[in-house]
């Protein structure tokens, strides 16, 4: 078999970016305390020589693979190994640079370290796109990554890095805010489902209702989230002042109530619109046959229309879930809590590590939700309508 020696174009780009990151940007940043600007350190300055060489060797292997040797599967595995090695090297730099017992100095990944991780993640994503793994495989890969990350965190691999220092200080609060974060994201989604599904079905049945409803929901979607929080503040505060029961239920101008209501409002459009589209694509012959064979309207809806529309409805749910997990962060501004509290506190203190403590778990959760629901949608959508 003849095979033209072709060099992968994305591989070239990734190689250039990775090499530049290694040569010109700091691998880690060493700070004498939490607030002070730090000293940039290269790979060889940050790590003992053998570890640095091992890291470089792995990166060379990644470059060779990325430039065109090997199957997509090989690339994927090499990229994963690369991510693990770079992450471990950063963690190791933390341990190596921190004097024993010192709780004041901070070691954080530098721009170069982040960029290296980003290029490797891109390489892995690209390989994964070419592999087109089945939904179950994708979920298993996600679980595998989560287990590996959990294992490393549980064994204190990253404990000397500044983000984990921030975590150690805030551990109790972190669990609480994570809980609040999930509750706000999932609670508003649940409430939206209860309203949006029937509303979507109604819009499908009554075409005259459709344009107006979708238009109104579309308009809500265009209001910036901070503005919507602000708009809700006054009426909710008035409500709490006028109705003692509302106040007892925790409804106030700030806090969880306006956050949940705003997220709920943003959730309506994707679910209503996808329900309408999903029901519309159900074959009219199938619905006609179902009626003609003696199904009641409820049976037609439950046994034929909803199951066939489910993949499209679920992709609406996916949009909402990912959107909500991200948007809850902003709700911290009005005192609703959630991981956004760390982000805004970190911004206030110019403590970037605290920002990351709020941001990284948020991104990870949104990513996981997206992978899980995508896999579910694809599994259900195997059967063409």
């Amino acid at each position: 078999m003849r095979r033209a020696a072709r060099i992968d174009r994305l591989g070239v780009l990734l190689t250039v970016a990775g090499a530049a990151a290694l040569a010109f940007l700091p691998f880690v940043v060493f700070k004498h305390n939490r607030i002070l600007p730090g000293d940039p350190l290269g790979l060889f300055a940050a790590l003992p020589a053998p570890a640095a060489y091992a890291c470089v060797a792995t990166l060379i292997l990644a470059v060779v693979t990325a430039l065109g040797v090997g199957h997509a599967k090989t690339r994927f595995i090499v990229a994963l190994v690369g991510i693990a090695v770079v992450a471990f090297a950063i963690a190791m730099a933390g341990t190596a640079l921190t004097p024993p017992g010192n709780r004041v100095v901070r070691v954080a990944p530098g721009a170069g370290g982040w960029l290296l991780l980003a290029t490797l993640v891109l390489m892995a994503t690209d390989a994964l796109t070419r592999l087109r793994p089945r939904p179950l495989t994708r979920v298993l890969l996600l679980v595998l990554c989560a287990v590996a990350a959990g294992f490393a965190l549980g064994h204190g691999v990253f404990d000397q890095l500044s983000i984990m220092r921030e975590y150690a200080v805030n551990a109790g609060r972190f669990a609480r805010e994570l809980h609040v974060h999930l509750w706000l994201a999932l609670g508003s989604l649940g409430a939206a489902l209860i309203i949006a599904l029937p509303l979507g079905i109604l819009c499908h049945r009554v075409p005259r209702l459709r344009a107006g409803t979708l238009g109104a929901l579309n308009m809500i979607q265009t209001i910036p989230s901070i503005a919507l929080f602000g708009i809700l503040m006054a009426p909710l505060a008035a409500l709490a002042a006028a109705v003692p029961l509302a106040a007892q239920l925790g409804i106030r101008g700030i806090g969880a109530a306006p956050a949940v209501i705003a997220l709920f409002l943003y959730s309506l459009l994707p679910i209503v619109a996808n329900t309408v589209v999903g029901l519309k694509r159900v074959s009219s012959a199938a619905v006609e046959a179902a009626r003609g064979m003696g199904m009641t309207p409820g049976q037609v809806l439950a046994r034929i229309e909803l199951p066939l529309a489910l993949p499209v409805i679920l992709s609406g749910v996916r949009i909402v879930l990912v959107q909500n997990i991200g948007m809850v962060t902003i709700a911290a501004l009005i005192g609703a809590g959630g991981l956004g509290a760390f982000v805004f506190q970190g911004i206030g203190q110019t403590a970037i590590d605290l920002v990351l403590l709020g941001a990284i778990p948020t991104v990870a959760m949104a990513f996981a939700a997206s992978v899980l629901l995508d896999a579910l949608v694809e599994t259900l959508d195997r059967i063409p309508p």
Partner: protein, 311 residues
């Protein structure tokens, strides 16, 4: 027996079906034929109340169709439509089991019925029961659609352009299958089509509809020899009505004992096909044989031609 009395349907000021009365005999195939917009589908859909009549009534075996809820009525009446309307998320077996499930049959009885129907439609249950509709050919989908309509052993089967989406060869096979199935299960079938050839081939009685009215409801031969008006004559085909008439009689029906020269023709072939075969061979007569090849007599051109004109 289905008795349609003075049935009308109006949408606003438009009358779609206009005071139609007709009787459908038990254990026969009755075809309603008409151009699009003639109201034939609406008439059919008023029998199982997918469309509620504006006035008039329908009696099935003497019982008014409005004496029970519409969905219960429909479970007793088979219904097959153009483009089959199979449920894409359900297997062939689940599709066929739809009405038996609604009626609460036992799983055992449903399984046996599904297998029986699949075999009756020449689909091996072991191979096809677990398949999804999109894994079948168009002809197979159509057969499953009819099998599903017959699943709960309805005494009446309504079919709305059931073969409309099939190509000519598969369509012809589907029509033969329907005739077989009707003989086998004895179902009373009312079928709607715009195709006059299909109407003549399948229908023991044919109703010709135009603008909401039944112009004539009669045996196919009578439609050709005694059309009620010029519109019926035009719709049933003025130019080739003699040939159409020949196609309504089979060779076996007029074969006379004895042997003559010429090609060999199956007893089930129509006189139209027999004539064509004789012309093709430059002969004056033909031998008629039954399906096992045993001689059934002979047939002359003169005898055939005598059947191509009104008595």
């Amino acid at each position: 027996m289905i008795r349609i009395e003075n049935l009308s349907k109006q949408y606003g000021a438009t009358t779609v079906v206009d005071a139609v009365s007709m009787e459908v005999e038990r254990n026969t195939i009755t075809v309603i034929v008409g151009t699009s917009g003639s109201g034939k589908s609406t008439l059919l859909r008023m029998i199982n109340r997918l469309v509620e009549p504006s006035s008039g009534r329908v009696l099935i075996d003497g019982k008014d169709t409005r004496s029970e809820p519409a969905h219960l009525l429909r479970r007793r009446i088979g219904y097959a439509i153009q483009g089959h309307g199979l449920f894409p998320h359900r297997t062939v077996a689940q599709n066929i089991a739809t009405v038996p499930h609604l009626l609460g049959w036992s799983e055992l009885r449903i399984g046996a019925r599904v297998a029986e129907l699949l075999r009756a439609f020449q689909l091996d249950p072991a191979e096809y029961a677990g398949k999804y509709p999109h894994q079948l050919s168009g002809g197979q989908q159509q057969r499953v659609g009819v099998a599903r309509a017959l699943a709960a052993e309805p005494s009446v089967l309504l079919m709305d352009e059931p073969f409309g989406a099939l190509d000519p060869i598969i369509r012809s096979k589907a029509q033969d299958d329907l005739l077989d199935i009707q003989r086998r299960f004895g179902t009373t079938i009312v079928l709607v089509t715009h195709d006059i050839d299909e109407a003549f081939r399948l229908g023991q009685r044919v109703a010709v509809m135009s603008q909401g009215r039944v112009l004539q409801y009669d045996r196919p031969a009578a439609l050709l020899t005694r059309p009620a008006d010029s519109l019926v004559a035009r719709m049933t085909g003025l130019a080739d009505r003699a040939l159409r008439l020949l196609s309504l009689t089979t060779a076996g029906q007029i074969a006379t004992p004895g042997s003559a020269g010429g090609p060999t023709i199956a007893a089930s072939a129509s006189l139209r096909d027999a004539l064509s075969e004789i012309l093709w061979h430059g002969a004056e007569s033909a031998q008629v044989v039954d399906e096992r090849g045993a001689p059934r007599g002979s047939l002359t051109v003169a005898a055939i031609l005598a059947h191509g004109r009104p008595e």
